[in-house]
């Protein structure tokens, strides 16, 4: 009984620890300006997707009122209506968030899972497993993705969960390759070797010791592949090959093109879904790129230094130089410390990327 309780306790502790880690992590992303933009927009999009029926002022599927055809943006129809069916574009845009996010994020997460598991297997088990997985990666690399997706939807159908499956089946390769090379490094690290010597099982080592070492990479990959898949999904629906029952941004664009938006100058019909795709892809990409910077800070320094130089307080620099002289050393503490603080505060807001 006591044992059970302690297990429960431990699981709870573990979960709390993970949650805290995620919290710290989000805070870290938040501390970059780019990350702030990304997180804000993503949160907004998620809220819109969840509360779509409450936010949308009209039924996006409603094609009954023929007098509403082709209205330009106004206070009632914020983004106007479609030329051929008179649907409210703002409401369609709101509903379109759902399919884009569901397909993008679900595929992104699944890709992170599949890619990391296969990558860890390839790297850690090695041998035949490794060569098999890497051969598959090489082969998938040479088959053009969008045409293959089209073939597969032709064969398997166009439900959006099938589309997600297809994206996952095709999307894991890049990540698994990266994870594999990371694992090869970790495998030779002392703490993994120590665990091996202590008799830990292969799976245990993979899950407890190796996967956590790749967590940053996974979040980056999830964000970036979600963004990539949103573009791909939009492209697919644009070609009329997405889920035929759902309202999606790609399909809206295709309808706009087919419905004569270009010809009759209905710019709102093109711009609206385009902005939707842009915002979604942009925000996920920002998060991915901030992650990349956290992982690989060298890239970031390159332009950051120049910004620091632009915002440098020359009086403070002068003080620093003067404080280095032997006879003035004693005076530095009180006088310049306050200036330094003030400077650092402006730094905090003025310098990023």
């Amino acid at each position: 009984m006591k044992n059970k309780l302690s297990i429960k306790h431990r699981i709870l502790q573990e979960i709390l620890k993970r949650l805290k880690n995620i919290g710290l992590f989000l805070k870290r992303i938040w501390s970059h300006k780019q990350g702030k933009i990304g997180l804000t927009v993503v949160t907004l999009l998620v809220l819109i997707a969840i509360f779509a029926p409450w936010i949308a002022p009209f039924d996006p599927y409603d094609v009954s009122d023929r007098t509403l055809k082709g209205l330009p943006p106004s206070t009632t129809h914020l983004l106007g209506t479609t030329l051929n069916t008179g649907q409210d574009i703002f409401s369609m845009l709101i509903y379109g968030t759902r399919i884009s996010l569901i397909v993008g994020v679900t595929s992104g997460i699944c890709i992170a899972l599949v890619g990391s598991i296969l990558g860890v297997m390839a790297g850690y088990i090695g041998g035949a497993v490794d060569s098999l997985i890497m051969r598959i990666v090489d082969i998938m690399l040479v088959i053009p993705t969008l045409p293959l997706v089209i073939v597969l939807t032709n064969v398997f159908g166009r439900d959006y969960w099938i589309i997600i499956l297809i994206f996952v089946a095709l999307g894991w390769t890049g990540l698994s390759r990266t994870i594999r090379s990371l694992v090869l490094v970790l495998k030779n690290s002392n703490y993994v070797k120590a665990a091996e010597l202590a008799g830990a099982s292969r799976w245990h080592i993979m899950i407890r010791h190796i996967l956590p070492g790749t967590s940053h990479l996974l979040i980056m990959s999830t964000a970036l592949s979600s963004a990539g898949i949103m573009v791909a999904e939009a492209g697919l629906s644009f070609l009329g090959l997405g889920d035929p029952t759902a309202i999606s941004w790609g399909k809206m664009l295709a309808d706009a093109q087919g419905g004569g938006a270009l010809l009759f100058g209905a710019w709102w019909w093109i711009i609206a879904p385009g902005v939707g795709i842009f915002l979604a892809v942009f925000s996920f990409m920002r998060i991915g790129i901030v992650m990349e910077e956290i992982l690989n800070p060298r890239m970031k320094q390159s332009s950051g230094v120049y910004k620091i130089f632009k915002n440098l307080n020359s009086a403070y620099v002068e003080d620093v130089f003067n404080s280095m002289d032997d006879n003035q050393k004693i005076g530095i503490t009180a006088a310049t410390e306050s200036k330094r603080k003030g400077k650092e505060e402006t730094d905090g807001t003025g310098i990023e990327t």
Binding site: V142, P144, T145, I277, Y306
Partner: protein, 332 residues
């Protein structure tokens, strides 16, 4: 040592191509019990017996009357002399002929996109890296932040809306007679160039930004290397350092990314061709998809994959020429 790497690399490409051919043959057949039914879906006004007769005729015509394994061998045999099978279109034209008709038109788009992307992209990238932190760099960074999130088909729609319909600078739809009336005359070539302008532009924007960003990062990474400090300490002139030491080293990652980007370029082009009604392989592929014409789909996929394999092989070999360090398995 290098020679053996090259031979291994080529053999490996052949192996990959063989696997791709096989996959390509079997994937469209998944879940299809009778290919003849695909070719000729059941019709309401037809009796069972009539339908069966038609299906049997189809099977014989397309060689579906033997086992899948035998079909595969026949397909391979056909490939050796360039026979990609027969299309399901009316008149059963050879897939190879259909593809060859469209291939040059697709190449016009992809090659010009690639060239424009590479040349302008590398130029911008080098400029941004050299002017790091100044406005040139900031413009590139901001442009790439935004452009990277804009799918090429949306750019295409916008360009076609403004440059095509609003201001009528370039044709928004490809001239349907462009292909049939084509001659090797200046007027005809100009017509092609005008029609290709918007599709190429819509794809090139992303390409330029991508290569520029890649070049910039590569150049900056190399500039921070120790051997550049050595070159400076040697008293070499700025231009010697730039061209002999920095640029050559920063071309290495670009060459690699070039091979990788080809597959994406092909995918994007399918959508762009569709938007501008360009008579290339992309539109051919979509037509084939709509008609369930899978011999044709297979043929196109095979060609596209073959292309990508070749491109990756070539860029890998160029890489070997550029980087003396490469030996087997050393690259990625």
């Amino acid at each position: 040592m290098k020679k053996s790497y090259v031979i291994k690399r080529i053999l490996y490409s052949v192996f990959v191509f063989a696997v791709v051919i096989t996959l390509n043959f079997f994937i469209p057949r998944i879940g299809v019990e009778d290919p003849a039914e695909r070719y000729y879906p059941p019709q309401g006004n037809m009796s069972e017996i009539e339908y069966e007769i038609i299906k049997q005729a189809t099977r014989e015509q397309y060689g579906f009357d033997v086992s899948p394994w035998q079909q595969y061998l026949n397909y391979l045999e056909g490939l050796t002399h360039g026979d990609l099978g027969m299309s399901f279109r009316s008149g059963s034209p050879a897939v190879a002929d259909l593809i060859i008709d469209r291939l040059p038109w697709t190449l016009v788009l992809s090659v010009s996109t690639m060239l424009i992307g590479l040349i302008i992209g590398i130029m911008f990238g080098v400029i941004a890296a050299m002017k790091r932190g100044r406005w040139q760099d900031t413009v590139l960074l901001n442009a790439s932040t935004i452009m990277i999130a804009l799918p090429s088909f949306f750019i295409a729609l916008i360009l076609s809306f403004y440059l095509g319909f609003e201001y009528e600078i370039f044709p928004a739809y490809t001239d349907p007679n462009m292909v049939s009336n084509f001659e090797w005359t200046f007027a005809s070539l100009r017509n092609v160039a005008q029609n290709a302008a918007l599709p190429v532009l819509s794809m090139a924007v992303g390409s330029i930004i991508g290569y520029a960003q890649g070049t910039r990062n590569a150049v900056i990474a190399v500039t921070n290397e120790d051997f550049i400090l050595t070159a400076k300490a040697k008293g070499l002139k700025q231009n010697t350092i730039r061209y002999k030491h920095i640029l050559r080293n920063s071309m290495l990652p670009i060459v690699t990314s070039l091979g990788m980007s080809i597959s994406g370029l092909i995918g994007g082009q399918v959508v762009i061709e569709q938007i501008f009604n360009w008579n290339g392989m992309g539109t051919l592929f979509l037509e084939a998809n709509n008609m369930n014409d899978y011999p044709l789909m297979m043929g196109i996929m095979l060609l596209l994959s073959g292309f990508t394999i070749l491109a990756i092989l070539v860029t890998d070999l160029i890489y070997v020429l550029l980087d003396p360090r490469v030996t087997v398995g050393d690259k990625r």
